[in-house]
């Protein structure tokens, strides 16, 4: 018995309809969320949702090969690349809401609506017929038929694609390469620099003597004040500079009574603070 991706019969038709509407609503909602979300990481996750639902739509359209390529290449490689670059560029890089061009958002939205109307008119006037009768090209023989096309009729574009990929890889390496201007500091230079900086010891670790030993919990100094040096600046930047989290009050050296520094103070902690 052979499995096919395209089902048949009235029950299958109903499930296809339900599946299409669920995927359409999910993908359009995630795409809208991607445009509206402030943080770039949220945008990346929402884009992953759009791409996964598009992969299932490809499956419904009889393109199992493209569905898998979509998951592997787009969701697996391209989005991971986006996330890595977000890690380099800084996760706190939220979008500014200041308009540099006056009325840009308004005009962009109006332009989008006009574009939607235009494209809807085009699609409405075009003759979009029903799907062609089902054949092996859209189910089990999809990969074979695609390979037949790619390696015969589309052979030259396929070869040129490899040149494009090599060029892109070399270009990325050239762009990401950093020329070393000064000689690389040796271990001796680093040690001398460290002693000269006035802080020969490493930075304090987060969570030492604090309520929790999480990485975003500043260590307590012997006098009870918090050491902001113990928390990575990336973490304090992630929560936003304007409103400091309860775990990291702004300003070093503020004397903190144990039990009031965190939000989850238990009576036992307060008792311990009284002694």
């Amino acid at each position: 018995m052979s499995h096919t991706f395209v089902l048949a019969g009235p029950a299958a038709e109903t499930s296809r309809l339900i599946g299409f509407w669920v995927l359409a609503i999910v993908s359009v909602g995630a795409a809208l969320g991607m445009v509206l979300a402030r943080k770039a990481v949220h945008c990346a996750v929402l884009l992953a949702i759009v791409m996964l639902s598009l992969a299932v739509l490809y499956l419904m359209l009889g393109a199992p090969f493209l569905a898998l390529v979509q998951i592997i290449v787009y969701t697996g490689a391209v989005l991971m690349l986006f996330l890595f670059v977000l890690m380099i560029v800084g996760i706190s890089a939220a979008d500014s809401i200041i308009e540099t061009i006056r009325g840009q958002r308004l005009w962009a939205t109006l332009g989008g609506i006009a574009m939607l109307v235009l494209l809807s008119l085009v699609v409405g006037n075009a003759v979009i017929g029903p799907a062609a009768p089902n054949s092996a090209k859209f189910s089990n023989g999809n990969v074979t038929s695609l390979a037949n096309l790619i390696f015969t009729r589309y052979l030259y574009p396929f070869e040129i694609t490899s040149a494009l990929l090599i060029t892109a890889a070399v270009g990325a390496m050239v762009l990401a390469h950093r020329e070393r201007i000064r000689p690389k500091p040796t271990q001796r230079d680093l040690a001398a620099q460290r002693v000269a900086s006035g802080r020969p010891a490493p930075l304090p670790g987060p969570g030492t003597y604090a309520q929790h030993n999480a990485v975003d919990m500043p260590a307590l100094l012997p006098d009870g004040s918090q050491s902001e040096l113990s928390v990575s600046p990336v973490l304090s930047g992630r929560t936003g500079g304007a409103s400091a989290p309860p775990a990291l009050p702004s300003g070093t050296g503020t004397s903190v009574v144990p039990g009031t520094s965190g939000g989850t103070a238990s009576p036992a902690d307060q008792e311990a603070g009284d002694h």
Binding site: A31, L66, F82, V89, Q104, G112, L146, T161
Partner: protein, 100 residues
Amino acid sequence: MVTPGHFIALSVILFVIGAVGVLVRRNAIVVFMCVELMLNAANLAFVTFSRMHGALDGQVIAFFVMVVAAAEVVVGLAILTAIFRSRRSASVDDANLMKY
């Protein structure tokens, strides 16, 4: 019954959302993501046309679009990191050295 028209309509909506995102957002990485969304919408239209006509050429073209999009993302993100290294910013407004 799901007709190819449904898929084309969905692809139009996704394309317009991506285009508005490119115009509205200021973070260059998010602008790239919106471009990817537009490419994906075009791919959906290609695959739908392939199903409509009963020929696989649309799927082959969607495959090539995916390859080109992968190359574009690699080079684009490398340019972004290079800009970020010199300017400490990923905003499209800050890269205006050649403006005037």
